[in-house]
């Protein structure tokens, strides 16, 4: 009944006076492709869940607008030695149930994820951690199994949950009724429909900008855009570039965009099929007109890249040359490799930009190869792409982000021998990324990544296509600066009339 009332009121408000409604912006409505799968922040790893629950919970550390890691619940931190990291935490934070947030809760949150019994999909991000312990009510000590340079970057994503409450209600109970310390608290979660949040008036960082926030699940992008135009939604994510261009002329909508840490790339199978020949892989690299793709298909919402990595990522280097568009050289290399007309299987799924795939197919074909697209659903795509090299197709595209802004989260999983994504193996490359993973010395790490990127340039098990932009459609009254790590904190937004 409440739902009906709320919806009626909302709809009537929309019909009656879209202008008046803006005077007191009570509820911010955000359309996402899916609802949160779980609101227990440790049980899920998908963008939509993440977007929603991060507004309910606080993190140990966070990133500022410039992308630097800055304190949130932690006030400062220091390395005792290469494997021991101490955090001082705030003592003025309370959870929504009124209990105080202590070092115990922080340690519990970390230990909960690394406990195999929870079956947390985030396990892999925190698995280098041996244990976390509360040494005093405001001091947490994290011990890692070996030096783990990406640790702080991973802790940006650690949501802190209340130990006492969780132990009282259990995992199921917590998932149904999560309690955090963040700017918003859960009012109602209708699975698959909507998640309603309410401002936490006592939030330690100040009063949240909207009294209520509603996340709605709207799977079709055309519908999300229609919601935005009619004012039924105030903010939508992942607006396709062509639509973004059309919406720019629409006074009822504004387009917000930012260059992100995400990189569009093409993988090439170096272990099977025609692309086993490095010349064929180089030919494909030369055949691709990055700028042409960006201008035509991304409408400028993308920047050319020289490597599989973008400037917001630690380890990015502009000292490694990219492959310039050179169709003649591409054809020559194909001829030289005796691969004219060779079958290139292009794996893809509906999750990837179809137009981009087709345009790339044409470019590769122009180099004298014969590309065939195999489009399956995402699960089948991943099964093949991450499976046996012989069955992993010849090429595929992807948009990679580790949400950690570190090359360790990109090229290590993509190309390190033994990784499920790697259809490539080079001991020199392995040595470089392994070295970069096990030292905390930043200069050393940068040098290792430069070496690694140089090797990748020669071997071309993949190439960077473009630096991806996050494109949002928003109500013109919303002020918000999107960030390179694509987080969506309502706390950072505001409404101006």
């Amino acid at each position: 009944m409440l739902r009906l009332l709320a919806a009626t009121t909302l709809a009537m408000g929309l019909l009656a006076a879209p202008v008046l409604a803006q005077d007191a912006k009570d509820t911010l409505t955000i359309d996402l492709p899916n609802d949160a799968a779980t609101l227990d922040p440790h049980l899920q790893w998908d963008t939509d869940s993440y977007t929603i629950y991060r507004n309910i919970f606080d993190n140990l550390v966070t990133r500022d607008a410039a992308g630097e890691i800055v304190p949130q619940i932690a006030t400062k931190w220091s390395y005792e030695n290469d494997t021991t990291l101490d955090f001082d935490i705030r003592d003025d934070v309370t959870f929504h149930d009124g209990s105080k947030l202590t070092a115990d809760d922080v340690a519990f949150s970390i230990n909960r994820i690394i406990d195999p019994a929870l079956k947390s999909p985030q396990f892999s991000q925190f698995s280098p951690i041996d244990k976390a312990e509360a040494v005093s009510p405001t001091k947490v000590r994290i011990t890692t199994k070996s030096p783990y340079p990406a640790m702080l970057a991973q802790l940006v994503k650690l949501s802190i949950v209340p130990k006492a409450y969780l132990e009282k209600v259990g995992d199921q109970g917590f998932n149904a009724k999560p309690v955090g310390s963040g700017p918003y608290k859960l009012v109602d979660h209708q699975q698959g429909v909507r998640t309603d949040l309410e401002a936490n008036a006592d939030y330690w960082r100040g009063k949240p900008p909207f009294a209520h926030v509603t996340f709605r699940a709207v799977p079709d992008v055309s519908t999300r855009i229609a919601d935005l135009k009619t004012g039924q939604a105030d903010l939508v994510r992942d607006v396709p570039p062509d639509q973004a261009i059309s919406l720019k002329d629409d006074p009822s909508v504004q387009i917000l965009s930012v260059a992100t840490e995400r990189v569009g790339y093409m993988y090439m199978n170096a272990q099977s099929g025609p692309t086993k020949d490095a010349r064929v892989r180089q030919a494909i690299a030369y055949a691709i007109d990055q700028q042409g793709l960006i201008d035509a298909l991304l409408q400028g919402y993308g920047k050319p890249v020289n490597i599989i990595g973008a400037p917001p990522v630690f380890g990015y280097t502009d000292a490694v040359e990219g492959y310039a568009y050179d169709p003649d050289k591409a054809r020559e290399l194909v001829k030289e490799a005796g691969a004219e007309g060779a079958k290139i299987e292009f794996l893809t799924s509906p999750s990837y930009n179809r137009a981009l795939v087709e345009a790339l197919q044409q470019m590769i074909n122009d180099a004298g190869l014969d590309t065939e697209i195999t489009s399956t659903d995402q699960a089948t795509f991943l099964k093949r792409r991450q499976g046996d090299p012989a069955n992993a197709g010849s090429v595929a595209i992807g948009r990679w982000s580790c949400a950690c802004q570190d090359a360790d989260g990109i090229i290590y999983p993509l190309f390190r021998t033994g990784s499920t994504w790697a259809k490539y193996s080079n001991p020199d490359f392995d040595a470089a990324v392994d070295a970069a993973r096990s030292t905390l010395d930043e200069a050393e790490r940068l040098k290792d990544y430069k070496t690694a990127y140089e090797i990748l340039r020669t071997d071309v098990p993949g190439i960077g296509l473009y630096q991806d932009f996050a494109v949002y459609g928003a109500n013109p009254h919303l002020t918000w600066q999107p960030t390179p790590n694509e987080s969506m904190f309502v706390m950072d937004m505001a409404w101006k009339n």
Binding site: S246, A296, R354, V357, E358, A359, I373, T374, T376, D377
Partner: protein, 290 residues
């Protein structure tokens, strides 16, 4: 009740083809001809892209001097040529999958209706099982297992839809089985296959044809739906449905991408259904009695 009068109007025995039927037949023939002749009549290569000539309106002259009569799609390909080639894909997917499901479905339906007993039970339970899994879910699952591709698509569509024919063939066979002359030929010792295909089939062909024509249109839409879910015909080849599922993103900016294949699809489905209705009147023995 005068409004019901026309029903009893005298109908000539010899088929006199009404104008509307000639019209829809012509439409179907043209579409079939276009599909067959696509490689010879298409003004351009349907796969040739021009990234600088995307989303151009109908009548635009391309950089190579070609006139894009129906405009270009989101990769700068000639829409007219894609529609011509798309006719081949849409028609053949629909025709082949309808054939597969008719063949399987009608045979099983007649067997169930004629033999009754265990044959009936087994077949109709299988029908229940198949029908109670929504076809599109079954199709999505099967595509995930079989992988994509034209022939697999035909198989998936054909093998998920046959129970519809079975239900109708079954219900009709039950009714027809009691007709006096069929009883008579059974008593005269005719074999089951002979009775089913010589006597029962012509009697039930009308309703089956109705289902088949409705299914024909549905199959085209079904394929389009799978394209919308990203599981239809593999790019860069295209069906009318897949062109439309791309074009719907551009309804406002480039209406032609969705409008022209949409109009073709509409005309085709409409024509086939109108023709199906008319044919039924001619095929159904009970209509002829009148």
């Amino acid at each position: 009740m005068s409004v019901l009068q026309p029903v009893r109007r005298f109908r000539p025995r010899l088929p006199r083809v009404p104008l509307s039927i000639m019209l829809v037949s012509a439409i179907i023939l043209v579409i079939v001809a276009v599909a067959l002749l696509a490689p010879w009549i298409a003004p351009a290569d349907p796969l040739r892209q021009d990234l600088l000539g995307r989303l151009k309106p109908p009548g635009t002259v391309g950089r190579t001097g070609v006139t894009y009569l129906l405009g270009t799609d989101d990769l700068g390909r000639d829409l007219l040529s894609r529609i011509l080639y798309g006719a081949r894909v849409s028609l053949s997917v629909a025709v082949l999958s309808v054939l597969v499901s008719t063949l399987v479905g009608v045979t099983l339906g007649m067997m169930a209706g004629w033999f009754r007993g265990w044959t009936d039970t087994v077949i109709m339970r299988l029908v229940d099982i198949m029908l109670s899994i929504p076809a599109i879910l079954l199709a999505v699952l099967t595509v995930a297992v079989l992988g994509p591709g034209f022939l697999k698509l035909v198989l998936v569509l054909g093998l998920t839809r046959w129970p519809r024919y079975t239900r109708v063939a079954y219900a009709q066979t039950l009714q027809v089985a009691n007709l006096p002359y069929i009883k008579a030929s059974e008593l005269a010792g005719a074999g089951a296959a002979r009775i089913l295909f010589r006597h029962v089939l012509p009697n039930i062909a009308g309703p089956i044809l109705i289902v088949a024509t409705a299914e024909f249109g549905l199959m085209i839409l079904f394929e389009a739906g799978l394209s919308f879910l990203g599981l239809g015909i593999q790019p860069p080849s295209a069906s009318w449905g897949s062109i439309m599922s791309v074009g719907r993103q551009y309804v406002e900016r480039a209406w032609w991408i969705v409008a022209f294949p949409g109009a073709c699809l509409f005309l085709l489905v409409l024509s086939v259904n109108v023709l199906g209705d008319w044919l039924r009147d001619r095929l159904d023995p009970r209509s002829r009695i009148r």
